[in-house]
């Protein structure tokens, strides 16, 4: 797969990646910059690049598989970058009132919650993206849920 083909695949992933970056930053400009930085780092990492190098772009199944893999790798790159970057603290005054509780969560909790509920990833897929154990993902998920619901309801934990 050449670079043009990677760009074509990435093009269709931009809305989802941008949504994820927004969930991490709560700021459109920062989200855009995070996405660009994460893409740059990903392209510079030849190893990840080579992982999808053996893809036949004309084969529909192969292309779909490559797209899924590329999305996961870019999501991982965005998350890693957000954690490493010293992003300015979220100004909750600029956030929609219904999203305030969400932006009070940690990076991991927000990332897990967004990918689980909005992007509908499974726990095992989240494990791949974040490189964590199953129980760590489930813990982040339930803590995030608890953080979102707050005093509205006392959640029971099931692992």
């Amino acid at each position: 797969m050449n670079r043009t083909e990677i760009l074509i695949l990435t093009d269709s992933l931009i809305p989802r990646l941008n949504g994820f970056c927004y969930a991490l930053t709560a700021n459109e400009e920062q989200a855009e910059q995070l996405l660009i930085d994460a893409f740059t780092v990903y392209i510079l990492q030849e190893k990840s690049f080579l992982a999808i190098n053996q893809v036949d772009f004309n084969d529909k199944v192969d292309r779909h598989r490559a797209k899924k893999l590329l999305l996961k790798e870019l999501l991982a790159s965005c998350f890693e970058m957000a954690c490493k970057k010293n992003l300015s603290p979220i100004n909750l005054k600029n956030v929609a009132s219904e999203n305030i509780d969400f932006f009070k969560l940690s990076y991991l909790q927000r990332a897990v919650m967004y990918l689980k509920e909005v992007a509908e990833y499974s726990i095992s897929e989240l494990q791949e993206i974040f490189g964590l154990q199953r129980h760590q993902i489930i813990e982040a998920y339930y803590n995030a849920k608890h953080g979102l619901l707050g005093n509205r309801k006392i959640m029971t934990m099931d692992f």
């Binding site: 809305p15 989200a31 855009e32 689980k116 499974s122 309801k153």
Partner: protein, 105 residues
Amino acid sequence: METNLTNKRYTVKRYVNKTLASADMQKVEKIIEQTKDLKDIYSIEEQERDFIIQLIPDRELSQDRKSHIRNELEAVMHDIYHEEKKSIWQKINDYLEKPAFKIRF
């Protein structure tokens, strides 16, 4: 009995959260369909899930912003692989333009 109900409640919760093993999903779905109590639990859990989804921001990207990001990504690709995009004639030209040796005085 109570423990059994609690377990069922957890199972429904895990079904709604999709944290069950994929092999068990269909089995649990059938059990929920057949049991009224579990159906009720399921609808409560489903409502809670819908409520949580409303709290999560999911920004839609405008066409302008999308094309701006696309251009930026293209520029990144171009910058990183700039050298490789040169044609063979450009490479020969670049090579010929370089002095073969320099004399230092």
